[in-house]
């Protein structure tokens, strides 16, 4: 409960900071929203319609009100009376209205989110599976060339920039050697789970290769540490199969740090993998953010920043709660 309250306070601070940062910046935010043939009057109307003429703090409280009870765009009652046809209702939780796209931020996020979520899920699946597997192998074969090879190779792959790996997979694996089809996002409803997975394989691999090294290291380190513990010797001594000792007892020690890492990495990915989505032209949250940034679409940027921040804060809370289940020694206060 205390964590949830701190989390909400953090989110409020995050949103206020974001507003101050963007609206006190001096960059003319209405220029893009107003369009090409912009007259001073038209600009003033736009400013009013978007609420940019109000002080930052008022805009912020309006935004918060929108999140809680929803709001109408444009907000101004005068403008609503003049041209009722453009009024858009944005139900709670309303994260704003993008003038550039003439859509609510919620609908833009709802369009892009499935892509980012699918990508994140497949990527997490890949790197956790291979990270833990390789980490275990490296720990069991400690000091041999297998161990050195696994640790070295994952570090080298990690050291190459993500966009280089992505472009390499795209240009060579998909186009030149044609080992996999050219990746295009296919929803499960359109192509079934198989199509969906195969098409996500390359971008997810790009992401997974970046995270793999960290998971191998953590798994290896904690398994190695626990392998020298007394309870492992006890388990072996009582005649438990080596495989069972490894998976049931040794791997257990790595579970807590792994859950922490998975939680936080997944949260940061759910906010959108900007580079990977751009390389593979997937229209997820990251690509949406990049487009919003180019057109200086502030409501979308703010919405995405807060969404991503909320994921991170939420993940922290979830990880803390999970601890208590994984490790009975940990108690929630």
């Amino acid at each position: 409960m205390r964590r949830a309250i701190i989390g909400i306070i953090l989110l409020l601070a995050l949103s206020l900071l974001t507003f101050v940062l963007f609206f006190s910046s001096g960059v003319d935010v209405t220029r893009f929203a107003c369009g090409k043939n912009c007259t001073p009057e038209k600009r003033a109307t736009t400013e009013k319609a978007l609420g940019y003429d109000k002080p930052t703090v008022v805009q912020w409280t309006d935004f918060l009100q929108g999140v809680v009870v929803g709001r109408d765009y444009p907000d101004d009652p005068e403008l609503q009376r003049e041209s009722p046809e453009i009024v858009t209702h944005c139900p709670a939780p309303c994260f704003g209205f993008s003038q550039v796209n003439a859509k609510t931020v919620n609908s833009l996020i709802a369009e892009a989110a499935p892509v980012s979520i699918s990508l994140a899920m497949v990527a997490v699946f890949l790197w956790v599976l291979f990270g833990v597997l390789f980490g275990l192998i490296a720990a069991v074969r400690k000091g041999t060339w297998i161990d050195r090879g696994i640790v070295g190779a994952t570090l080298v792959v990690y050291a190459f920039p993500t966009f280089f790996i992505g472009i390499f997979l795209l240009k060579y694996v998909a186009i030149k050697w044609q080992l996999l089809p050219f990746p295009q996002y296919v929803t499960i409803a359109d192509g079934g789970v198989g199509e969906w997975f195969v098409n996500l394989l390359l971008p997810a691999t790009t992401l997974a290769l970046f995270y793999l090294a960290g998971y191998v290291r953590i798994t290896r380190a904690f398994v190695l540490e626990s392998l020298s513990e007394d309870y492992i010797r006890t388990a072996t001594a009582k005649g438990l199969a080596p495989r069972k000792v490894l998976f049931k007892h040794a791997l257990r020690a790595a579970l807590t740090p792994l859950v922490t890492m998975i939680g936080l990495d997944l949260a940061s990915l759910l906010g959108g993998a900007i580079i990977t989505e751009t390389v593979f032209s997937y229209h997820g949250l990251g690509a949406l953010a990049l487009r919003a940034n180019v057109s200086y679409d502030l409501p979308v940027l703010i919405g995405l920043l807060l969404l991503a921040g909320a994921f991170v804060i939420l993940a922290n809370i979830v990880v803390d709660v999970l601890y208590a289940y994984i490790d009975p020694r940990v108690r929630l206060d």
Partner: protein, 332 residues
């Protein structure tokens, strides 16, 4: 003043060159750490690579000055009709050991070499900021405790909750405007570089702050701090004269590990167009230019990425080696 932890006292080993097992030398923890580091071949190789990169980075501007490296001249005559480098093996020659860029025709080696200078400069400056802020706040949080600690802890949470890349992207026009218009930094590579340095540094300090805070929490209970307090030492003196010298080991390790992180981050930012922009080369923006020719000119595509990977791996191995040498308990 350096304190010898009890566990390191037991580690005094007989001098291998000594007369026999009786010849026991008393080694300082620093000497012990150095001895451990010396045995670590991997770290030595990494150290050599890092030194070579740094020397190359320092030398590059002078080589450009004397005309040995030429990162800007467009050698259009070396390109074929498809604007790819003419000749076999991606147009390698004695004058252009890595060939020339497709399209423009600038010397690739010169651009990568000078790119090392700019990438290292940016990462180094950002690492200094991150370490400085992190150490200062870590010491304050750890020593002051109570409300100060709680506030710094929440600020760290806040910084960590910000999606960095997204914020960097969004803040780029604003940040550059503030730098050039209000702080009167000349527009161009310098302002862009300063923006990258500031954002990397000001977002990167949280890890150091947490680490240092933890160290300070255990150090502040030690006798020498009590002694200093009894002498009537000011708080600032205790923070920076008594505690800081005991923190150099973790500070050195984190500093070394910041470098590869920031070199990678610069490359990622260059891809998104918010790092230093061409014609000033950085490893990141050379790679960004080269990926357009990923299938047409493999050497040009691979060379900058390889140079990034090599230095990132080396700095990581060096950091790990230093940590193992300085903190033999933490075997991770």
């Amino acid at each position: 003043m350096t304190v010898t932890p009890a566990n390191q006292l037991e580690e005094r080993t007989p001098d291998p060159k000594g007369a026999g097992p009786t010849a026991i030398t008393s080694n300082s923890p620093t000497a012990l750490a150095f001895a451990r580091f010396r045995k670590d071949k991997k770290s030595w190789v990494a150290l050599v690579v890092v030194v070579v990169y740094i020397s190359a980075g320092i030398a590059a501007p002078f080589l450009v000055m004397f005309g040995v490296l030429d990162p800007q001249t467009a050698n259009q005559d070396l390109l074929n009709a498809n604007t790819l480098p003419a000749g076999d093996f991606w147009g390698i020659s004695w004058t252009h050991p890595l060939g020339v860029e497709p399209g423009v025709g600038r010397d690739v080696l010169s651009r990568i070499w000078l790119g090392i200078t700019y990438s290292l400069a940016v990462s180094l400056a950002a690492a200094f900021i991150a370490v400085f802020v992190g150490v200062a706040l870590g010491i304050i949080a750890g020593f002051a405790g109570g409300w100060t600690d709680a506030i710094i802890g929440r600020v760290i949470d806040l910084v960590l909750a910000f999606p960095q890349t997204l914020l960097l992207l969004a803040a780029a026009p604003v940040g550059l405007a503030i730098l050039t218009e209000q702080l009167h930094v000349p527009d161009g590579a310098l302002a862009q570089g300063m923006f990258v340095v500031l954002v990397l540094g000001l977002f990167g300090w949280t890890g150091t702050a947490r680490l240092i805070r933890g160290q300070v929490l255990s150090l502040r209970e030690r006798e020498f701090v009590d002694a200093a307090r009894l002498f009537g030492a000011s708080r600032r003196r205790i923070w920076f004269k008594e505690l800081l010298p005991n923190l150099w080991a973790p500070v050195l390790v984190t500093f070394t590990l910041y470098m590869p992180a920031f070199i990678s981050a610069e490359a990622a930012l260059a891809y998104l167009g918010v790092s230093v922009r061409p014609p000033t080369p950085t490893l990141g923006n050379v790679l960004k230019d080269s990926i357009q020719y990923a299938s047409g000119d493999f050497l040009y595509f691979f060379a900058p990425a390889f140079m990034i990977a090599l230095i990132v791996v080396s700095f990581n191995l060096l950091g790990d080696g230093l940590r193992d040498a300085l903190d033999p308990k933490g075997d991770r």
